[in-house]
Symmetry: C2
Subunit: 420 residues, 2 copies
């Protein structure tokens, strides 16, 4: 256990200053932060972070796709790297915290450890992953996906953004995508700890200060179409209708009830609905809607998905509606490392910091890195659960709590002798 922890008041100042500086790297006129992969604001943000790392004594380097690392060398010549960090890119009109907090907190934790304890046994690195959000190009995890070997920039970077610029062009225009830059794939990782805002309201509602993620949920997404008959709203008696809107509504109500019955951590959401012809005085002839299902347990995720689809089918058949269900996304749940979660729990208990073991309902870089090495994911509360919005906010005191837990975990991993 770490003997001394960062002084909250000192950390708070540094954290909020850096988050504010980072938020200034933003494109566009709109409210909030817009920092898309390989745009000028993105490039400036990474350069700024490299400078910050260098000032903190963390030697910066970029890999071939623009992931930025700041390194604190270890004394053990054979030691694998203990990594922390998150992603630097944002959605459009984002807040200051999603991704950025994990990088800034990582720098703060490493700077504190270096200053207080000197060189670690194992090397410590903080990473600013180049991309996670999928906001500019039709893919996500472009940063961590190169670290894990999921992607290779040498092939397949031909998808275009909405202006027709390909990922490969954007990457090269930013100075990346060159062989002479470092290899992206890492096989030298001992552990990865990602600190992130929760982007949900569970910690706030439960009055917890730290979330320890046990699993990042698996997802199933479906596109559903129900087709009936677009008849006249006045001349078609209720008994003669094949109303696709009423059919879709019954599905939505039923799916919500089933998901509530199953209970946490299952969630099921119909977020997108399109009726046709979508006219007040015409019975809807067809309705398209999406279904997003998430669970931390793969078997239950599959079982609920099967049940949901069979309920949609049953409702459609009873209402004489044709139905078409197209799966378009399926990811498996990714468990975090149990030993690291226990370590996080011990730290919270030691600090008398109210915590909650939980699942992450959102995807994170941690799920991409998890196959490479023991991985942990730590949350701090998000006010009102709001994220992907300029209103995203976490109190500075809670940001400092996260840094304290992170520093303690990194101390254990990098400074203490590890059981062999």
């Amino acid at each position: 256990m770490i003997p001394n922890l960062p002084e909250p008041n000192e950390t708070i100042g540094e954290l909020t200053k850096l988050l504010g500086q980072l938020a200034a790297f933003s494109d566009g006129e709109g409210p909030g932060v817009t920092r898309l992969l390989y745009t000028p604001s993105w490039a400036n943000a990474q350069r700024f972070l490299a400078d910050v790392m260098a000032e903190a004594g963390l030697a910066p380097r970029f890999d071939a796709v623009g992931n930025l690392y700041g390194r604190l060398p270890g004394t053990d010549p054979d030691g694998d790297v203990v990594l922390t960090g998150s992603h630097v890119d944002t959605v459009r009109s984002a807040g200051q915290y999603d991704g950025a907090y994990g990088i800034v907190a990582g720098i703060a934790a490493l700077a504190y450890l270096k200053k207080t304890y000197g060189a670690p046994r194992r090397p410590l690195e903080v990473v600013s992953f180049c991309e996670e959000e999928g906001s500019r190009f039709p893919l996500a995890y472009w940063g961590s996906g190169h670290v894990s070997g999921l992607y290779d920039w040498r092939s397949g970077a031909d998808m275009a953004d909405e202006d027709g610029v390909t990922l490969g062009e954007a990457m090269r225009d930013c100075g990346f995508g060159r062989e002479e830059l470092g290899e992206c794939r890492r096989d030298d990782l001992a552990a990865f700890v990602e600190l992130h805002i929760e982007q949900g309201m569970v910690l706030e509602r439960m009055e917890k200060r730290i979330g320890i993620v046990e699993t990042i949920v698996g997802q199933r997404r479906y596109a559903v179409t129900l087709e009936g008959a677009a008849n006249h709203a006045g001349t078609t008696p209720m008994t003669m209708r094949q109303d696709a809107a009423a059919g879709a509504a019954e599905c939505i109500v039923r799916l919500e009830a089933l998901a509530s019955q199953w209970g946490e951590p299952l969630v099921a959401t119909v977020g997108k609905i399109e009726a046709r012809p979508n006219t007040p005085n015409v019975i809807a002839g067809a309705v398209d809607f999406t279904l997003d299902i998430r669970h931390a347990d793969e078997w239950r995720l599959n079982a609920f998905s099967e049940l949901a689809l069979s309920e949609i089918e049953r409702i459609a058949l009873r209402r004489r509606l044709r139905h078409k269900i197209t799966p378009w996304l399926a990811t498996k749940p990714v468990p975090m490392n149990p030993a690291l979660a226990r370590s996080a729990e011990r730290v919270c208990q030691h600090l008398i910091m109210p915590y909650r073991r939980m699942v992450s309902g959102a995807g994170h870089d941690a799920q991409v890195i998890a196959p490479l090495c023991p991985t942990a994911m730590i949350f701090v509360p998000s006010r009102g659960g709001i994220s992907h919005s300029p209103s995203e906010y976490t109190e500075p005191r809670l940001l400092a709590d996260g840094v304290a837990v992170l520093a303690a975990m990194l101390y254990e991993l990098a400074y203490e002798e590890q059981p062999t």
Copy 2:
């Protein structure tokens, strides 16, 4: 009772020929007929109908807004006019029958009566109303509304179509909107009989050949907005949601169930639904939907509307959703003339023609003329209930049935001595 009725085979040929010729007056490349008020195709259609009327011995004249009348003078110098007909304009991509059938059938009936029985006591006129559908300008019943005094072209014709052309400009460019043309308002009507396709599937399903309208329904239309919170679909447990889509879905299911319980002739329809932000992985923060309620009885129409709104309110409150309900259309039910309905019924019984007394769930010119004089509305079946579509269809034999009933009714009204 009429001693001789039109020979179906003769009528059929004339009807289908005229309907086909009229359908050729259409703008645009798309399927079906598009004949909007004061467009070239509309003007050509009215000129064509004037020629057809003249050939049939029905003296044609236009009024100031372009309503076209064909007149068969009566022998009684004091006799008020017995009028039949419907509207010449169409929705976009319409079929051949909506409106057009009532005009063409009226011409056929008057031509038959003239040929068979000579001059009537009372004058007989067939009208081709210039506009009913509301497809070009944001108003409807521009034709019959001038006959009843609802509109006056001298004022307020300043609303524009989607190209920015005002109604007044379009009218004058077509040669109308001039004082020297005939007065639109009629105070010389003895009766009005409108023959129309049902635009519903009731007659077909019930295997009836004639519908006798007792009432044209009243309508209430509302715009409803439910507002919750647009949270993350993954990180927000089911118990912490304020899901506007699930709330709207519950309203839709509930409204459908209530309307079905109340039974005919009540209908309630949610035809338009818009979710915000309408994204698969975000819980809907707000949903707008429309509610269209129709009933033939004003008290019941009001009572159901009150009930529907209170149910929406109840559901919104229970789900912690803000709600806003805006009424944007309210029309009263318009009863048709009972004596004329009985006359239609006697004709059907005499002809051994299966008929059904019914309500009209759609609006028609008859409801605008009804305050002026005893008014009747007669339906023939629509195949599959389909209307406002190129697939609109009624078998020629059924079209001829309508002409026979119309001719018999007009004979009673114009040739027979009327009870004083």
